[in-house]
Symmetry: C2
Subunit: 511 residues, 2 copies
């Protein structure tokens, strides 16, 4: 590499570093808004987010980035760049092209509208009135569609919705997702039917013990630490806050999760903590030397979900994990939970039963919740349906697919924060994550055949390290299709995930 | 006013509005650092603060501001601007001149060094080792001096330290402070001696009851609301978090305070909450129409302290307030505090006794703590003493002035966050605040002679409204000397404050 190319590359990376730092600052303000902010501050907060978004847009679309990029891309020695450097250049180019095609006013308007929509969504959900939420959601969807239409041309995707998906799952299309999801749905329904017909059914009354909130907070910390997400040590880089809808937010040394605590449903916080801890482990275990570089992020939302799903379900709902953790749980909770039987508890937390709420859904029916949302988003962006029709369509889908009667929009179309927050094209990631997690499990099984015995002894270290080496430390060096192939040798396929479900649930339900 | 002048003024105010919004975003990140941040994040956080400080500096020193300012200042119709508009222009000019003389690198370096110094200060304080803190403090003091020397020329102050003071108390000088503080010290010592010699002494054992932290948290909320700082209502603009050193942070609709809870010293959180609530009331009751304008802030740190001191001491340590609030306190605390006697309690919370810790000091000796710090800062900036000598000088002053033997630097020179956080020239504000509070009290007494009876009935509204009208709603329309004269008709004078102390303590101690 000549001195000239290297110094241009360094200049480019310095500029990008500033953007990364700004984004991490925006994340703090976003997180504060969700976890700590007094309600009256919403107007001021939306101005703050809009301004930072405007500064971000200005920095991201600085013509000097184009100049530096061009100088690198057309340099005679371009091939002397290593894989990581080339990937950084590719990712900066991709983002630059996407960002420069979006008018700054549109970006600012979307940021403002997101803040307003989230605020109204909270109030509308509390009031169970979709009509309160509708006008702001309509405005937001229109703005997001406008952006997606512009980006469709830049990203050269088939549809605007594909451009939205590409943000979260690069190189993935709604066509391919439709295909994979159809296969997934058939498999899930097959397992569901077998569970329903099985003679051995779980007794979920064991989950109904009242557990005081401060005890649940202690359980949350112990759980996080059992899966190596450190929230209490002297040099911890994490913490657990409380929001209705749990999320993970942060970057490298400052990665925080949230959960909710319900006194009469302690399992709800248990699994949301495990889920978010899986996300947090991904961010915390990225390569330190890639900090502030585009390669220093997760590969995709789907891969992120593969990590949260692995920790929540494959690890966190396994017999082995609870053989280790149940005595700990009893130690923290005291007499309240002292009668919990391991086998009964593990069956109860793996109950398969169609439900209304996605985040409370079981591992088997979960995918169906996602498929409903995916279909709606796809049709909404294709102007086949309107925002006004959402509650009706939602309720019909839940009736048709899961046999559930939705009583009000808070337990229906308004249950998730995603659409208010402007996350369109994100939902498919959850089910793609499940699919990837099955493929990763099969690969880990080969490298670490004793993982289940280790887990039973409370040794999560080797499992975490396998994930870190194969997933976390790969950062954003590959697009999802390339990464899954690199790790497992195969394209995306639902078989390992369906096999995992079949094995697990046949054992639990005895079919 | 011609159309042209008005449109230039509007352009200027639009630019300033962006800076104000950015500053309020920086405050959120600062607050998160103090209250919520996991320890590992400090490196990333210092980069975030440095970047935002850099962006702030760039916006603040944008040559377009100079162009707009000049165009307004030299406009033929300048006199058609109203008082508020002229004050905005004056404040923008003042800030612009100060900021443009400071090199951007110095500003960034100071921001970074502050973050590092605060972090080390926390660790050094925990370890009781000033030597850990010393090198980072030395670097920070050098940087701050460098800035003060530059600003001395811009502000045309006599000394660099006067330039530092001017940030917090415009138009105030160390010469004048020395004069007023000498008078204050004589008065304080006189009251102190009388208290010490008096036959009626307080029984502070009534404050030693153990009060569980969650009970103290409830008391804190009730106290805040008793003085009209709303932290729980549906549209509240406040909240109470926890830090070792309490502070108030925020802007208009998002003003939050912090406190600390010690199980065996519940009065400590009681008075820190009242103190910070006084600051919060100031910010919350600024004129809404002045939001995002330079006039839409408090007048000075000293005036801010006058508000916190009024709520903490004049209101919060009065017999009348506790006649109302003690039954409430008992209701929250239950059996623990049921035997508290009103008179004994009020005397106990007004015990006059020299102590080592400023924030735990009584109303009478408090000023002496400030005078020690003021003298040290003044001499440090005049190169009469060095950072290395601070512990020795500190300990000597505490021995000479208060008769206290300092055992280690955590209870000595490292007790406050100010010097680590870069607040030089701030300390005098605390005692100036006391002085102003005495003058304000005398003025309020004339307008609202029944304030004590109202307070006894739990009616704080009229007192708060008097303060809002006379202080809060004046915003930053006047410099402190002009404001105190406008409200009280007099220049700064210690007499009303000393009279207040004399009357109050002669009654309590019976001298």
């Amino acid at each position: 590499m000549t001195e000239n190319l290297l110094s241009t590359y360094k200049k480019l990376m310095e500029k990008v570093k500033e953007i990364v730092i700004l984004n991490s600052a925006q994340a703090i303000i976003q997180r504060d808004m969700e976890t700590m902010m007094p309600p009256k501050a919403i107007g001021l907060r939306s101005q703050q987010l809009a301004l930072l978004s405007q500064i971000d847009h200005k920095m991201t679309t600085d013509p000097q980035i184009e100049t530096l990029l061009k100088s690198i891309e057309h340099h005679a020695d371009y091939d002397s760049l290593d894989t990581v450097q080339k990937r950084n250049v590719y990712l900066i180019r991709k983002n630059y092209d996407e960002q420069t095609k979006l008018p700054e006013e549109l970006v600012v308007e979307i940021a403002k509208q997101r803040a307003i929509a989230v605020d109204i969504w909270k109030k509308a959900k509390a009031a169970k009135k979709f009509l309160m939420f509708k006008p702001e959601l309509e405005k937001l969807v229109e703005l997001q569609k406008k952006a997606a239409e512009i980006l469709m041309k830049v990203k050269k995707t088939k549809t605007p919705y594909d451009a939205a998906i590409d943000f979260f799952e690069p190189k993935m299309t709604s066509e391919e997702i439709t295909r994979v999801f159809n296969e997934l749905r058939a498999g899930l329904v097959s397992v569901l039917r077998k569970c329903e017909a099985a003679p051995r059914q779980p007794d979920v009354s064991v989950l109904k013990h009242k557990v005081p909130l401060d005890v649940q907070r202690k359980i949350a910390i112990a759980l996080a630490e059992a899966v190596e997400y450190d929230v209490t040590s002297k040099n911890s880089g994490g913490r657990i806050d409380e929001t209705e809808h749990p999320f993970t937010n942060g970057y490298y040394d400052d990665v925080r999760i949230t959960t909710h605590y319900y006194e009469d449903l302690f399992a709800s916080s248990v699994f949301s903590v495990l889920h978010e801890a899986g996300h947090a482990l991904y961010e915390q275990n990225l390569k330190p030397e890639w900090m502030y570089q585009p390669v220093g992020t997760g590969c995709s939302s789907g891969f992120h979900e593969s990590q949260s799903r692995t920790v929540e379900n494959i690890i966190g709902r396994s017999h082995e994990f609870w053989a280790y953790f149940l005595p700990k749980l009893k130690g923290i909770a005291g007499s309240t939970l002292s009668n919990l039987n391991l086998d009964k508890f593990v069956h109860a937390i793996n109950q398969v039963k169609p439900s209304k709420i996605r985040v409370e859904a079981d591992e088997v029916t979960y995918g169906v919740h996602i498929i409903i949302r995916f279909n709606i988003e796809r049709d909404l962006f294709a102007d086949k349906i309107t925002v006004k029709e959402l509650p009706e369509i939602w309720n019909q889908c839940y009736k048709d697919y899961l046999g559930m009667k939705i009583e009000n929009d808070s337990e229906g179309v308004m249950q998730d924060t995603h659409w208010a927050s402007g996350y369109y094209g994100y939902f498919p990631s959850y089910a793609l994550g499940n699919i990837y997690s099955g493929q990763l499990l099969a690969a880990m099984q080969k490298d670490l055949p004793s993982w289940r015995t280790q887990l039973e002894k409370g040794n999560f270290k080797n499992i975490r390290q396998w994930m870190s080496k194969n997933v976390h430390q790969q950062g954003n060096l590959y697009d999802p299709p390339a990464l899954i192939k690199k790790i497992t040798g195969k394209e995306i396929t639902v078989k390992p995930y369906l096999d995992y479900l079949e094995t697990k649930y046949s054992k639990l339900y005895g079919f």
